[in-house]
Assembly symmetry: C2
Homo-oligomer: 244 residues x 2
DNA sequence: CTTTGTTATTCTCATACTGAGATTGTCTCA
DNA sequence: TGAGACAATCTCAGTATGAGAATAACAAAG
């Protein structure tokens, strides 16, 4: 049955109202770890619990636009931020008050400033993803989905450069992978791999001003290349448990 | 801003109504090609145009449930069908009458019977994806997205077995890949690869009743294995144009 | 200023995976 | 009965990966 044919025969307002929101899983790397932006709920239900930033779509506003707006309301930033649709959630009882369908978005950004709590939120801050508080609604599921998507996209897209600054060293890029995947990678092999994937990074010809904090030579600086897909991909160490 | 805080301060019914539908991209292999289930619209707007099957979500009905129902209404089938969420579309003007947010689902099945047109549809049939009619709304975009997703999932999941029957030969499985990807694959290498990926297929110990229609020995029959991910993945021949 | 420890970068080497082509033997059809 | 089709297996070269080591530049402590 097509939606419009349905519309022709039925009045949608005869149905219980459905509300559509966007929720944003915004990830960044801070303090050596992967963090997600959460806001503390000021109102019932789940008042006092942390939740993903999000809100109703507005008339005339497209979905990605709504997600970018919600993110900007909390972080003040909208450019330099990669944002993409994640998934939608619409279980009838996911919000106790009414039927709410949520379109979730995934956002990545280099180290962002501290968020400012919106007028409607009691608090807003970046939380380490490995030490999360209890979340409101089904936001734990949405976040888990977002993390898994982010980890996967690191494999076959240059997404990691979106977590790094304008210019970065190979080691910094490796740090992104290690942080997001939660593993440690072989420095030599990683270096070889990054430089051998066409279009992943391009040299700036510059180096860091000084060596690392604890020694070592100055590292060459790179910027993101023009590849949209990594080929061959940079695969995570095999996770046997995930295969079956 | 969280959705519930918003709710506390604003009455969503004060906003123009938003309707939520599911649309299904149902793919199967028929007549040697990849085909998608389309229904012909009986009502305005876009009356007479072909469209993806879909319709409003019902109160108390979860999203995947709604998608399965819509598919079953057209095909009569609900088991043996793999179904997964694809993406959501909510551009303000995508339906001329009101704000409609559509959650799209992707379904795969072995060769299915001819669809029966729902009472609301003028016609329903399987269309070759490489020879499509003009589609209603933004359904061409949704379908393109679904095809790309299906092609990608063939690489790293055992999805191809969902297009094959209960038991299948390696050659039939290769035919699935060749049909969906639109390429021809090296039979020997494909054979080696399939048998070397743990859990992709398992032997039934049986063979086909006779050789191929034009000769050749009887082929061994396999069934789908227990792997959920293919490791290593079965990658498409490199598509340079898609990398940049 | 010298020593020690760290880190960037490059190499080596063994192993695994892939693409291309060829071989062997079974089976259908003319 | 012969020709062609096709399943299944094998070979070989090229490429990619994992692990470890070597080289050299640099910071910080003595």
């Amino acid at each position: 049955m097509d939606e419009s044919e349905f519309l022709a025969g039925y009045d949608p307002r005869a149905y219980p109202a459905v509300a559509v929101t966007v929720d944003v899983v915004a990830l960044t790397i801070r303090g050596g770890g992967l963090r997600v932006l959460l806001i503390r709920r000021a109102e019932q239900p789940h008042a006092g619990l942390w939740a993903l930033p999000g809100g109703f779509i507005r008339p005339g506003e497209d979905l990605p636009q709504a997600a970018a707006r919600e993110l900007a309301e909390e972080t003040g930033l909208s450019d330099r931020v990669h944002i993409e649709q994640l998934a939608s959630y619409g279980a009838p009882e996911r919000d106790p008050r009414m039927r709410i369908v949520s379109i979730s978005y995934l956002a990545f950004a280099p180290d962002l400033p501290d968020p400012r709590a919106g007028s409607d939120a009691a608090d807003a801050s970046w939380h380490p993803v490995d030490k999360l508080p209890e979340l409101a609604f089904d936001h734990d599921r949405i976040l888990a989905h977002g993390l898994e998507r982010a980890r996967g996209k690191l494999e076959y897209t240059p997404l990691a450069t979106a977590f790094a600054g304008e210019r970065f060293t190979i080691s910094e890029l490796r740090g992104v992978y290690e942080t997001v995947w939660g593993v440690s990678l072989h420095a030599g092999n990683f270096h070889r791999k990054i430089l051998s994937v066409p279009g992943f990074v391009e040299s700036t010809g510059e180096t860091t001003e000084s060596g690392g904090a604890r020694g070592g030579p100055r590292a060459k600086l790179y910027r993101a290349g023009d590849a949209r897909l990594l080929h061959p991909a940079l695969l995570r160490p095999a996770r046997e448990e995930q295969i079956r």
